[in-house]
């Protein structure tokens, strides 16, 4: 449930972002048409580009700005945008890392193909941010014995840990804890709730 929610959110954000950029560029094109023609009459692409700058600062009216200043401003802005985008991507990756759980079958700590692909994604992140560690929390559904489930949760957390270390992540960066059946995500006595509760959660630290 949680996972589907995040997937939906990410897709919605992507569509929104796409929509924004298209409308913006459309807007830029229109505004750029005048000054672009007036000044140098370079290619449309440059025209658009300079127009982009003209939207951020009212250059034509302000007058006295040199070509060099303009270029520097443009470069700074581009850099800022790039950084922003990188930060957004990193934030999204971190959010995904912290919220995307892996799930298990009843009385089982084996990793499914889906769990493995999620773990590969997490390994990539950990390689990208070598100063971060992760706490893996193993959980169970509330069927079965409470004591056995403590061990099963421990086993699930260790399955995930072992997979990450097999992918080259230093074991010292990974801590595990079992909560057994003590912290269910979903309430209810049905397979949908149980399936959500049989999980490992991940927390960057």
């Amino acid at each position: 449930m949680q996972r589907r929610y995040w997937k939906g959110l990410v897709i919605a954000l992507a569509i929104l972002a796409l929509a924004c950029t298209t409308t913006l560029t459309g807007c830029k094109k229109k505004m750029a048409s005048d000054p672009g023609m007036k000044t140098t009459g370079t290619t449309t692409s440059t025209g658009i580009y300079s127009g982009g700058a003209s939207t951020t600062a009212p250059t034509p009216t302000a007058g006295g700005m040199s070509e060099a200043d303009l270029a520097a401003q443009k470069a700074a802005e581009a850099k800022r945008m790039a950084e922003e985008r990188a930060r957004q991507i990193a934030d999204q990756a971190m959010a995904r890392f912290n919220t995307q759980n892996i799930n298990f079958a009843f009385d089982n700590s084996d990793l499914s193909p889906e769990a493995m692909s999620i773990l590969k994604d997490k390994a990539n992140y950990l390689r990208q941010f070598p100063n971060k560690g992760v706490l893996i929390k193993g959980h169970c559904d509330d069927r079965g014995s409470l004591e056995y489930n403590l061990a099963l949760g421990d086993r699930r957390a260790n399955s995930a840990k072992n997979f990450l270390t097999d992918l080259g992540i230093d074991a010292r960066r990974i801590n595990t804890i079992s909560y057994g059946e003590e912290m269910p995500l979903a309430q209810g006595q049905n397979e949908a709730a149980w399936a959500v509760n049989r999980r490992c959660e991940f927390a960057l630290e």
Partner: protein, 442 residues
């Protein structure tokens, strides 16, 4: 920690004296057969109203309360039947002693035994005389006089219950025991303990975040339990009298402690290397030995009363089943073969049977089985989950947790599954009952 334990420690201060009124020298009737076969019949006892020595309101109320506690105590052990007072035929002048009692009337209503009680309350000082009679033989079995503060009335009753059970059976019964359990009433799971019959529940731990799996040491002086107070699951071993304690905090998890009843030593599941194995540890948490060696889950140890065997849960066969280990050779044999999920073993105090929770049709019920794997008996059968069986130290009763009411509750039944009743009603849900050994006169 709890006031109860402080109170326990201070009992020597109370001048609670008791003396035999008359030495019941002749051998009392022994009821082992009935106690161990609750389907047959219960021991019929008549308990007429207690007689206050003065007619004031307070002694009269005390007499009513004392008799109620005696009846509820005897009913709790589930092998006595208290005959209904409507049937009693009490002759004129009948009083507390054998000389005044018309035994024929008590025989005619089917009473094997008769208990008389008299008390006097002056200010805060309570004196109580209690006598148990053998009705068919027309004679006194045991008589006691108790003197103490009025607050000690329950203790006096409990002491006399011990006298009754000691006279009629080969054991001291359950009156000097307590039951520890987990309750999430405080908002998170903490350890509690109450008297054998659910009276006076006290919270023993706080700030645990999650507390689980209480376990009494063989002599009742220490309690081990699992706590997440420091973040990860660790085993806390607490001296109940001195209120001191140590933590067992190896890397990985430290769970499911169980005491060797013969030594200051316990078994617990640790996951030092990512594999869950049972280790034996000193009472101070030092590893003595790795007991299991199997790539899989080994958990929930329970020692036999002589400490020579240990039952535990392992998934080495593919799903959780009960196994027994011989402690001297390390040899392991499987005990449960029916069902795909058997857990929570508890060795009977006689060492002949294991109680456990087995899953059938998706829910757990309590079973017992002989240690050789034969004679499986199903004790509970209801739509809820019945789990975590724990034997009373005399082997006649089993406490367990059940979700039959919705929220998890502690229930008690005979070791044959009869007379299933709720132990106590508390806020939140209660799980994982652990019956103490004989604690003496708390």
């Amino acid at each position: 920690m709890s006031k109860t334990f402080i109170r326990t420690a201070c009992t020597c201060f109370l001048f609670l004296l008791s003396m035999s009124l008359l030495a019941g020298s002749a051998a009392a009737a022994r009821y082992e057969y009935w106690i161990n076969n609750p389907f047959l019949r219960k021991i019929p006892i008549a308990i007429p109203d207690f007689l206050p020595q003065t007619v004031n309101e307070e002694p009269r109320q005390a007499a009513v309360q004392a008799r109620e506690w005696l009846i509820s105590g005897l009913e709790f052990v589930r092998y006595f039947k208290i005959l209904p007072p409507e049937s009693y035929i009490i002759s004129d002048g009948e009083s507390l002693t054998a000389q005044t009692i018309n035994f024929t009337n008590w025989t005619s209503i089917g009473a094997d035994h008769l208990i008389t009680g008299g008390l006097d309350l002056r200010g805060n000082v309570l004196e109580m005389e209690l006598r148990l009679f053998d009705v068919p033989r027309n004679r006194l079995i045991v008589g006691k006089r108790y003197k103490g503060q009025v607050e000690d009335m329950r203790k006096m009753i409990r002491r006399f219950c011990v006298e009754i059970v000691s006279a009629l059976t080969d054991s001291k019964g359950v009156f000097g025991t307590k039951i520890a359990f987990v309750s999430n009433g405080p908002g998170n799971k903490e350890i509690f303990a109450c008297e054998y019959d659910g009276f006076d529940p006290q919270q023993l731990t706080s700030g645990s975040k999650i507390a689980l799996s209480p376990a009494w040491s063989g002599d009742g002086t220490h309690m081990a339990y699992v706590s997440y107070a420091d973040g990860t699951p660790q085993i806390f071993v607490r001296n109940l009298e001195q209120k001191s304690g140590i933590k067992i905090a190896y890397k990985g998890m430290n769970v499911t402690p169980a005491w060797d009843p013969t030594r200051f030593s316990l078994a617990a599941t640790l996951s030092l290397n990512g594999d869950q194995e049972i280790y034996s540890l000193t009472g101070n948490g030092k590893i003595i030995k790795k007991l299991t060696n199997n790539w899989g889950i080994d958990v929930s140890p329970s020692y036999s009363p002589d400490g020579k065997q240990m039952a535990f849960v392992s998934n080495r066969s593919g799903n959780p089943q009960i196994y027994i280990m011989e402690m001297d050779t390390g040899e392991v044999r499987r005990v449960t073969f029916t069902g795909k999920y058997n857990s929570g073993p508890s060795f009977s105090p006689k060492g002949d049977r294991i109680a456990y929770a087995g899953m059938d049709d998706g829910t757990f019920d309590i079973y017992t089985v002989r240690t050789d794997g034969t004679d499986v008996q199903q004790l509970t059968n209801d739509p809820g989950d019945d789990e975590s069986p724990s034997w009373s130290p005399d082997g006649t009763l089993i406490a367990f947790s059940t979700t039959r009411e919705g929220k998890p509750r502690i229930y008690v039944m005979t070791s044959h599954g009869t007379d299933q009743n709720r132990l106590l009603l508390l806020d939140g849900g209660q799980t994982q009952p652990a019956w103490s050994p004989w604690l003496g006169d708390y």
